[in-house]
């Protein structure tokens, strides 16, 4: 799979947050988005996810044969982990993940494995309202393990995570890339050794 953006510009409210942004991500590659606060990293991720329209330019998600994905297949091609984590304090951890699996259309048999992979098995019956910031983050990242999808869109994935969970995330990402996956991540910290990066906003 391949993700290509050409001379993209996007509007947020009445302000153009970025313009003339071009990038290309091929199978097995990760693109790291850098830039100061408000430079449009989250906006770009939402644009790629199709949640926001673009002002100018062209965005294409191509399958292995180089054909653009149709709309319904497009939504099934990626995971979008934003910092709005869709976690309600009234639901237990396993109920939350079960709901996320339901929305994704992911098989329920992956549920326990996903909880295990992100160190949440012991917290499964706990109310999500009692989770720490890092645990909440792991719960939303656990969506990545519910279903195999080619493209991962990650917004500040390492935020609030402890050293061990960060290492875990890196291992997951490297494994994903080695299976021909794609990653676009917005972050302020070094991530995956910054293989390929895109700077948004003014340079300091």
């Amino acid at each position: 799979m391949q993700l290509i953006g050409e001379t993209l510009a996007a509007l947020r409210g009445e302000r153009i947050v970025f313009r003339n942004v071009s990038f290309e991500v091929a199978a097995g590659e990760a693109l790291i988005l850098h830039g100061p606060n408000g430079s449009g990293k989250t906006t770009l991720l939402r644009v790629i996810a199709g949640l926001l329209g673009i002002l100018t330019g062209r965005l294409r998600l191509l399958d292995d044969d180089g054909k653009p994905l149709t709309d319904d297949r497009r939504d099934q091609a990626f995971h979008f982990i934003s910092h709005q984590d869709a976690i309600r304090p009234q639901l237990r951890v396993h109920e939350t993940l079960r709901f996320h699996a339901g929305i994704l259309g992911a098989p329920l048999k992956n549920l326990d494995a996903a909880l295990d992979a992100w160190g949440l098995a012991a917290l499964a019956t706990q109310s999500a309202g009692f989770l720490s910031a890092g645990q909440r983050r792991r719960l939303s990242l656990a969506r990545l393990s519910l279903q195999k999808r080619k493209l991962w869109l990650l917004d500040e994935p390492t935020i609030a995570l402890d050293a061990q969970s960060r290492a875990q995330l890196s291992i997951m990402c490297i494994e994903h890339l080695s299976h021909g996956g794609l990653i676009v991540a917005a972050t302020h910290e070094p991530f995956l050794g910054d293989p390929k990066s895109l700077h948004l906003g003014p340079r300091e």
Partner: protein, 221 residues
């Protein structure tokens, strides 16, 4: 389809557990019915003639509660983003929200109403019609409320205010519903009013789903 049921399951769970959910709706409904005789006085004939209207007004107000929790929080916490990316069309997302809201408000009210009927001196013959009218009429109240709440959430204003503004749309259901119960009480055939109520209710659920979905699409773009 799995997304549809997962959403209903989660919304009903939230509706039961969240403050301002099912329990509040039921308590509010019961309170109006319990307090009405104290306000109207002890005259049994007055109570009897006022009871169909009172039951329906109580049902209408009780279903308004909880509307602000069905769409607005999903917009704020990113659940709506996930739903927009899911294979389920937004019309069905809206329908699932209407069903969940009805299960945690209208359905409970329907079950509760016959038990409260003696308090307002509703004649025994009219009790089944009261239950039936609430059963087929309250889904419409949830549907209109959900459409208003979705519109309110997408323009980032209090969903509750818009739900109140949409209140006039609920008036036909109030009229047909209470008429059917009053007719049953005076031994007139309520079939016509019930049929109209059912027909309007079906239309409201379909139109409400589409309207709510359209409002949800406005979000963000």
């Amino acid at each position: 389809m799995r997304t549809f049921f997962a959403l209903i399951r989660r919304d009903v769970t939230l509706g039961i557990r969240a403050s301002g959910g099912a329990a509040l709706s039921a308590a509010f409904f019961a309170l109006i019915v319990v307090l009405a005789p104290l306000g109207l006085g002890p005259d049994m004939a007055t109570l009897k003639s006022a009871s169909p209207g009172l039951f329906w007004i109580a049902a209408l107000l009780a279903t308004l509660l909880g509307l602000e929790r069905i769409v607005q929080p999903d917009v704020e916490d990113g659940t709506l983003d996930l739903l927009r990316l899911s294979p389920l069309p937004l019309e069905f997302v809206a329908l699932a929200k209407i069903i969940s809201h009805w299960l945690t408000s209208g359905l409970i009210i329907t079950i509760l109403a016959p038990a409260l009927a003696p308090l307002l001196n509703l004649s025994l013959d009219a009790v089944p019609v009261l239950a039936l009218s609430l059963l087929i009429g309250t889904p419409a109240l949830s549907a209109i409320g959900a459409a208003a709440a979705a519109l309110g959430a997408s323009v980032q204003r209090g969903g509750m205010v818009l739900a109140l503004l949409a209140l006039p749309l609920n008036i036909p259901f109030l009229i047909f519903g209470s008429t059917a119960v009053a007719q049953a009480q005076t031994n007139t055939d309520p079939t016509q009013a019930l049929t109209l109520l059912g027909a309007c209710s079906l239309i409201a659920v379909v139109v409400g789903s589409i309207a709510a979905a359209t409002s949800l699409r406005l979000n963000d773009d």
